[in-house]
Structures are given as C-alpha cells and as structure tokens.
C-alpha cells in the first residue's frame, strides 16, 4: 500500500516533469523540470533495490550533467527566450501520434509478457539477499571490478577523450 503510493508519487513527478520539460518555453525551466524528473527516478531506483544507482543518478546526472547543461545555457545567454521554439502544429500532432503509438506498442509488449517470471516477486527476495551480504555499493562493485574491469578502464579512457574533445571543440580559434 505504502509502496504503491510512493511509487505513484514518484511516477507522477517523473512523468509530469518530463511533459513540462518539453512543453516549457524557458530553457532554464525545462532544465529544472528535468532535474525534478531525475530526482523522481532516483526514488524509483531506491524502490527497486538499486541503491547505489540511485545515489549515482543524483550525483552524476542531476548534479553534474544537468549543471553542465545549465552552464552552457547561461554561457550562451539562452535563459531569456520568450517566444516558443516549437515547430508547426502539424509537427506537434505528428509527434504526438508518434509518441503515443510508441508508448502504446511498448506498453502492449510489456503487458503481454506479464506471464513471465517478472510477475513474481522472487526477484526482490534475491536482491535483498545480495544487498544484505555485500552492501549496496559492494553489490555493484563486485561485477564491475571483477567481470567488467576492462570496460571500466575503457570508460575512464572514454572520459579522458571526452574531456580533450570538449576542450578542443569549444575553444576559440587561435588568432
């Protein structure tokens, strides 16, 4: 009962934030709505026993990436945009149709697969066992540093490349 209520709360916040994000005129407002959605998602992560990821979501996504977005918006002075920069009505209708059909199809697929083992709550029990034995961080850390060590290292390399790329792309041309 409590669970359902919390889930509904978070879901409404996430969905509402997302819709407001795409409907808002002011880019900064859009950004903040998205941050709200991220926070809600983080809550849902906790409810799904992904505690570490919930924390990382807040720290990295809401805390770093969105801040970066905000920096760029401020840098380019886009914060005052007043006129609506959406496309024509036809495009809006088409996007609405596309989006809703996409949602409908995926939802149908999900509900069709309801009979699978996902329906049971076994998963939750297993997760709890793992969490208790290794802790939230250890649960993710173990596969990360054991089986997926190489992708981990490569990701760090990727981040390095991203840094260098960002600097190179965004600097002013040398006079």
């Amino acid at each position: 009962m409590i669970e359902t209520a919390f889930f509904l709360l978070f879901a409404v916040l996430a969905a509402g934030g997302a819709i407001m994000m795409i409907a808002s005129r002011n880019p900064v407002a859009s950004l903040l709505y998205l941050v709200l959605a991220f926070f809600a998602l983080s809550g849902i992560f906790v409810m799904l026993d992904a505690h570490f990821l919930a924390a990382v979501q807040v720290i990295v996504y809401a805390g770093a990436i969105m801040v970066l977005f905000l920096f760029v918006i401020m840098l380019l002075n886009l914060g005052h945009r007043e006129e609506l920069d959406m496309r024509s009505h036809l495009t809006r209708v088409a996007a609405l149709v596309a989006g809703s059909s996409l949602f409908a199809l995926v939802a149908a697929l999900v509900l069709r697969g309801e009979q699978s083992s996902l329906a049971s709550d076994e998963g939750g029990v297993v997760m709890e066992a793992i969490l208790r034995s290794r802790g939230a961080v250890g649960a993710v850390a173990e596969p990360l540093f054991r089986s997926y060590l190489v992708p981990f290292e490569l990701t760090s390399l990727l981040l390095l490349v991203a840094i260098v790329g960002a600097i190179v792309l965004a600097r002013r041309r040398a006079p």
Partner: protein, 101 residues
C-alpha cells in the same frame, strides 16, 4: 491485469521514452533536444534496473556505464553546440542543415 511495481516501472519507462522522442521531434532549441535525449537514456536506465532484479546485477553495471557514456556524450555535444553557436548566433536545430542534398 495485475500490475506490480516492475510492470508499472516498465510502463513508466516506456512513457518517458515516448515523451523524450516527442520532444526531440517537436523542439527546435538544440539544448532542449539534448535534454530530451538524456531523458530517453534515463528511461532505458530505468528499464535496465527493473530487469536487474530478475536477471542479475550485471544490468546495474550496464546502467553505470550508460551514465558514464551519457556524461561524456553530453560534454562533447555541448562543446559542439557552443562552437556552432559562435557560427550561427543561435541554437535553432532547423538551421543546421548543411547536410542537405
């Protein structure tokens, strides 16, 4: 129709993904488009987390990687937008049509 948390989360994820797609289709501001892409990525992350409950913790590792890559991609993408902004004096995506035939 018995909706437990997992199915509900999946449906929510589908909804977020659809909203992100619609946003990309509809908005002209490049930065907003980027944010919609981030939203789509998050929807996928949510899906992965749902499935990690039954399929193993590797899915969460994947989410971790997705976030890392999303960060890198956001950084580089925004750098590009800054560079374009200097050229076009605006970030209207409709004006970036040099790849036209």
């Amino acid at each position: 129709m018995n909706l437990d948390i997992e199915n509900a989360a999946l449906i929510l994820s589908a909804f977020l993904f659809a909203v992100g797609t619609a946003g990309v289709l509809v908005r002209r501001n490049a930065i907003i488009v980027f944010m919609c892409v981030e939203l789509m990525l998050n929807a996928v992350n949510l899906t992965l987390v749902v499935f990690s409950r039954s399929l193993g913790l590797e899915a969460q590792v994947l989410v971790f990687f997705v976030m890392a890559v999303a960060a890198a991609e956001a950084a580089v993408g925004l750098a590009i937008i800054i560079a374009i902004f200097r050229h076009y004096e605006g970030v209207d995506v409709d004006r970036f049509n040099l790849l036209r035939w």
